[in-house]
């Protein structure tokens, strides 16, 4: 009897959650699909985004993402390698670095926006630009990326290190050819998390990359990313909801695609590393 009541409750709750989530998803997909066409992707927005497409918005989104990843990836991977392989174990500088990273991982994105505005836009003189936005996002995704990569590297069994050492490999070679490939899942997870956060971010970009909705010519132009475009259309444009849903669907598809792309790129790279 109790079993039956309990399982009914469980199934009902599951059904409720699935229904709610499917409701949101179908709303976004059906409203969005009504707007999306090839023309929507390749034309400039007109009439404050009510008509026309999102081409410049897409380009700005990619710019910001590329800048953020270009700054965060090498830096993050390098720091993670140093922390896990070279640093004196859990003492002094390395320990403080860890603590700093944990504090920074907890900062809400809007606070990164405040910092990015004060530091990159005003202090460094970048103004409202894709570069300032991308660098702000890089700061935002770095802590989590480093922590994921570091823990991935730490989890690689010491047998691999000893094996590499027995083969006479230098530590650097061991890192490149043994440890990084072995820590692949963690690095991939960090990358996917970073891409997800950077592509979806709105708050940190409002005051750094701004919201000029035309085609950026260089990373020093101000540009409006998809998330900011959705925000502006839904809040500030009467009759902009349709275009907002269209952009939302594009954004979701973009995130899924980028995750898939990151996965296959990393897979490829590590395959080559191992076979070398």
């Amino acid at each position: 009897m109790i079993d039956r009541v309990f399982s009914t409750v469980v199934f009902a709750a599951a059904a409720l959650v699935v229904a709610a989530l499917v409701w949101v998803l179908t709303d976004v997909v059906s409203e969005g699909a009504a707007r999306i066409s090839w023309a929507f992707l390749v034309t400039e927005p007109r009439d404050a985004g009510r008509a026309g497409g999102i081409a410049p918005v897409l380009v700005s989104t990619l710019w910001v993402l590329v800048i953020a990843l270009a700054a965060a990836l090498p830096l993050g991977l390098g720091v993670a390698i140093w922390l896990s392989e070279f640093a004196p174990k859990q003492r002094g500088f390395a320990a403080y670095t860890g603590i700093t990273l944990d504090v920074l991982a907890g900062i809400p994105s809007i606070v990164y926006g405040l910092f990015g505005n004060a530091f990159f836009s005003v202090y460094m003189g970048l103004g409202y630009s894709l570069l300032a936005g991308g660098l702000t996002l890089a700061c935002m995704i770095l802590p989590v990326f480093i922590r994921t990569c570091e823990s991935g590297l730490r989890q690689v069994s010491d047998d691999w290190r000893q094996g590499a050492w027995a083969l006479g490999m230098t530590r650097a070679a061991a890192v490149c050819h043994v440890l990084l490939p072995a820590a692949r899942p963690a690095i991939l997870a960090g990358l996917v998390l970073g891409i997800g956060r950077a592509t979806a971010e709105t708050a940190a970009l409002l005051f750094t990359s701004g919201y000029v909705d035309r085609m950026p010519e260089s990373p020093l132009d101000s540009g409006r990313v998809l998330a900011v475009h959705i925000f502006d259309l839904s809040m500030n444009v009467t009759g902009g909801d349709g275009a907002a849903y269209g952009s939302a669907l594009v954004l979701i598809v973009l995130i899924v695609l980028l995750n898939g792309l990151a996965q296959s790129l990393v897979d490829n790279w590590f395959k080559r590393r191992i076979s070398q």
Binding site: P74, V122, Y128, L131, T238, G239, W269
Partner: protein, 270 residues
């Protein structure tokens, strides 16, 4: 991968150093009042057509942002839909148009006018239902502006209110957001730029403007200096604006843009 990534980083660094070159005299950044922005955006498009090498970026955020950004150098030109305050020194003011602030309600609202006292009572929370001012039995949604917007300051000044006395139901930022909020809520009341309201109404948005002290909230009344809640739309610069900023301001004050001002339902200053 490392080499490739380092390459990318280098490219970013190059872009950084190229900034000095980029900041040449062919781009203008304007920020500030959401009332002025749509007008300036149209002016900027026309100016860019005439001068293809020039790029003009327009971003909103409220008059006070326009003032601040011009003072910190984030913007070349600020936009403000009010006069400067005594504390806001070191700036030059260039008036490009005149606008009014009007009360708006949903189009389905049967109310056709409200007295100043009624408006004050609604905004201070003494009247909470439309039936108390002769309307339907529907609770009133009071739409107020966020601080930093001059429309709020003008409104408060005119009705001799302090913002802490207002009992709002929703706080909005830009004019468009206010119009969108009122258009989507049959019980809402708000106040926005008359130009922005007429512009939206002309496109079928479901709002209507209420007269103030018996004077219709329309461009014609603002032009005739009869509407009581009027204000200048200004461009702001530092004491020594760049040559391009100067040329653009001269353009914005010239006859060449009079039709744009009329299209946006503003008044050409005389």
């Amino acid at each position: 991968m490392f080499q490739r990534l380092t390459g990318l980083l280098l490219a970013v660094a190059l872009c950084l150093s190229a900034y000095g070159v980029q900041a040449a005299d062919n781009r203008l950044i304007l920020t500030g009042s959401s009332t002025v922005a749509p007008l300036v955006l149209e002016m900027a498009k026309r100016y860019e057509q005439q001068h293809p090498q020039v790029r003009i970026d327009v971003q909103t955020g409220g008059s006070t942002r326009g003032v601040n950004d011009t003072r910190t150098g984030l913007a070349h030109i600020g936009m403000a839909s009010r006069n400067l305050k005594p504390t806001e020194t070191g700036l030059r003011v260039h008036t490009i148009a005149i606008d009014g602030v009007g009360i708006i309600v949903h189009r389905s609202n049967p109310i056709s006018s409200l007295s100043n006292t009624q408006i004050i009572d609604i905004y201070t929370g003494k009247i909470r239902n439309w039936k108390d001012v002769g309307g339907r039995d529907l609770s009133i949604t009071v739409v107020n502006k966020a601080e930093g917007h001059s429309t709020l300051e003008l409104f408060l000044n005119y009705f001799a209110l302090k913002n802490s006395q207002v009992r709002p139901s929703i706080i909005i930022g830009d004019n468009e957001q206010g119009i969108k909020t009122v258009a989507g809520n049959p019980g809402a009341i708000g106040y926005v730029s008359i130009g922005a309201a007429e512009f939206s109404q002309a496109r079928g948005v479901t709002i209507k403007r209420l007269p103030l002290e018996g004077v219709a909230a329309s461009v014609a009344e603002v032009q005739a200096h009869r509407f009581p809640l009027a204000r200048p739309l200004n461009l702001l610069t530092g004491k020594s604006p760049s040559p391009l900023a100067r040329r653009f301001i001269a353009f914005a004050q010239s006859e060449a843009v009079a039709d744009l001002i009329a299209d946006q339902f503003f008044v050409v200053p005389r």
